[in-house]
């Protein structure tokens, strides 16, 4: 296991990158802790696979360094870095049995056969593959094959990190859930440094200790699932995490409050330097307070519709020309005519050029 350090890391597929958009991965300096589970989250083309391949050593970055436990491994092969990687589609060795597949990485490293057997059986047990050990891998279902791919990553006890590149894409939803829990359990048991790439926020939030959200080549926030939810540092994080995403409204500044179409909304921070840029006000649907007109500080809104989601209600509200979503508890009454909302200052976030003003 290793601490992973990115030192001014960046990558561009252009030979002479000149503008930020030329970069598949923009400048990044960070330290990832040993033994933690990380998720790289973002839509396709956001640079998460580029970053993963740089960590694994399949790609040499055009700028900066990668350090494992303080050791520069930027130009080392995956083997030299001693990492394991699980790919999007199952990679199995067709002609081998499940047992031989799992033993392959160990046998290649000349691990004594007794240890190979012990590890293989341990991993097979953890992944429910024990019954299939003697079967030829080619004959199994896609999810069993993907379990073998994962098993080959987990079988080496000495790896610096295990990388998962959207490993559950081919798995059906129910098995997906089980496998994710399995991975989580294995992580908690062995304290392996795991890095998990996905575009599915549920997968990322349930799997990882820390989630790195990527957007257009930049890592916009690295934080715990709770931090991402409660304090999105970038409008993209607010939009991408949560369902529905954060409510965003363009605004201007007026001293200690924000002005949305002339309506003053109080802010937590009283002294915001007005240095220019485009300002937006954001609040998660979960934090919008629905009340009746007349309540102190409430802004009248029009209720456009209410969707009952079973465990909660989602109200669509209109405030001026803006449409807001508010998540309400099942038993909360929605006033038909005199609805109003309040913005709790703690959850009302101000963004300048998409970045959180703090």
């Amino acid at each position: 296991m290793a601490t992973i350090h990115f030192d001014n890391l960046g990558h561009s597929y252009h030979p002479h990158p000149s503008k930020p958009t030329d970069y598949a991965l923009r400048r990044l300096s960070q330290e990832w802790e040993d033994g933690k589970a990380y998720a790289l989250l973002g839509p396709s083309g956001c640079g998460k696979s580029t970053l993963l391949n740089i960590i694994s050593g399949l790609l040499v970055p055009s700028e900066g360094r990668v350090l494992f436990d303080g050791l520069d491994v930027t130009r080392c092969t995956p083997e030299e870095r001693n990492i394991a990687q699980v790919f999007q589609f199952p990679v199995i060795y067709d002609t081998m049995t499940v047992y031989e597949n799992l033993a392959f990485p160990l046998r290649n490293r000349k691990v004594p056969e007794a240890d190979v057997d012990r590890r293989v059986r341990q991993v097979a047990e953890a992944l429910d593959l024990t019954a299939d050990l003697k079967k030829r891998a080619q004959r199994l279902t896609p999810d069993a094959k993907q379990k073998i791919s994962m098993g080959r990553g987990l079988v080496r006890s000495d790896v610096a990190a295990i990388l998962f590149d959207e490993p559950l894409t081919v798995i059906d939803p129910h098995t997906k859930w089980i496998l994710r829990r399995k991975l989580r359990q294995i992580h908690e048991e062995y304290r392996l440094t795991m890095i998990y790439v996905t575009h599915d926020q549920v997968e990322a939030l349930t799997f990882a200790d820390k989630v790195a959200v990527m957007h257009e080549g930049a890592m916009v926030q690295l934080g715990t699932p709770q931090e991402l939810f409660e304090n999105p540092e970038h409008t993209f994080v607010g939009y991408f995490i949560g369902s529905p995403g954060i409510n965003l409204m363009p605004c201007t500044l007026g001293g200690d409050h924000a002005l949305v179409e002339g309506i003053a909304i109080p802010l937590a921070d009283r002294a915001i330097p007005n240095v220019g840029g485009t300002f937006e006000l954001g609040i998660r649907p979960e934090f919008v307070e629905l009340t009746r007109t007349g309540t102190a500080g409430a802004i009248p809104v029009q209720v456009v519709g209410v969707d009952d989601l079973g465990t909660s209600k989602l109200a669509t509200l209109r405030m001026g020309s803006h449409t807001l979503k508010a998540r309400l508890s099942e038993d909360q009454e929605v006033p038909a005519l005199d609805a109003a909302i309040r913005f709790p200052t703690r959850w009302t976030k101000l963004y300048r050029d998409s970045h959180l003003v703090s």
Partner: protein
């Protein structure tokens, strides 16, 4: 699912039946017909049953030709398949000018007609004016395909390797190109050696195209006719007289239609049998347990 009865389906099948009947079944039946008769002249035939078959099976010249043929075909496979695989592994991948050039160069021999290949090598190997022949002579190597049967053999074999290894290489190349890059990356991460990558990824993924390559090369080489005929006419002696040439001598040269017909059928069955064996063996290898 319910089966739909519709007699119009016959319109789709009948043309194929007619074409296959005229191109394959009728000629084959004619041969079967000849093989059980003694033909004295037009309209003068005598039913002789299996007599031609017994005669053919007892023919020692045919035995010799068959042994020669089997050795030749096995030699062709033993050289061209591994060589083709090695060439395919060494070929540049991706879309580049280098790749295109390699593909064109490899495809060139395949475009040359059989008898032209024979003629090219006949001239190439001549001691007086051929580049290879003259070079051997200058180096003091005694090489003469018209008088030395081993030289003639080697020439026919080299000719075939030159002509057809490209086919195997191109087929294997196509097989290799279809392997997703993740397999190589995973193997790298698993610490697999080059040999292990070949043994556990490339070779299993090439199995499908290798079946085709082996069958094509086997059938083709088992029916070789033109090249040795152009080179030495089957000589020196009978050393490069393979089955099809012996058959032609029998049918066209001596006009032993009945005997030649019986021979053809046996020939056909041998090709069928060998192809079946190759196919089964390759498909079974790597399939392993049927559980």
């Amino acid at each position: 699912m319910d089966k739909v009865q519709d007699n119009r389906a016959w319109f789709l099948i009948v043309p194929v039946f007619v074409i296959v009947a005229f191109s394959a079944i009728l000629p084959l039946m004619t041969v079967v017909n000849y093989s059980v008769q003694e033909i004295f002249g037009p309209g003068q035939t005598l039913f002789v049953g299996t007599e031609w078959f017994t005669t053919v099976l007892a023919d020692t010249r045919l035995h010799d030709a068959l042994v020669r043929q089997v050795i030749y075909s096995l030699a062709v496979l033993a050289i061209e398949i591994p060589l083709g695989i090695v060439i395919a592994l060494g070929m540049p991948g991706g879309r580049s000018a280098k790749t295109s050039l390699t593909l064109v160069l490899l495809a060139l021999p395949l475009l040359i007609p059989f008898n032209v290949v024979g003629t090219i090598w006949q001239i190439f190997g001549r001691g007086d004016i051929g580049l290879a022949g003259a070079t051997f002579r200058a180096l003091g190597i005694n090489y003469n395909y018209t008088s030395n049967s081993i030289d003639a053999w080697v020439t026919v074999l080299v000719m075939d390797v030159w002509h057809w290894t490209s086919l195997v290489a191109l087929l294997c190349y196509a097989g290799l190109q279809s392997i997703p890059p993740a397999f190589y990356q995973a193997a790298k991460i698993d610490g697999a050696s080059k040999w292990a990558v070949f043994r556990y990824i490339q070779l299993p993924k090439m199995r499908g195209v290798l079946v085709i390559a082996v069958l094509l090369r086997f059938m083709d080489s088992f029916m070789i006719y033109t090249e040795p005929f152009v080179l030495t006419g089957g000589g020196p002696g009978n050393s490069t007289t393979f089955l099809s040439q012996y058959l032609t001598q029998m049918a066209v040269g001596q006009f032993d239609i009945g005997k030649a017909a019986a021979f053809s059928i046996i020939y056909f069955l041998i090709v069928l049998l060998f192809s079946f064996i190759f196919y089964t063996v390759i498909m079974r290898t790597g399939e392993g347990d049927k559980s």
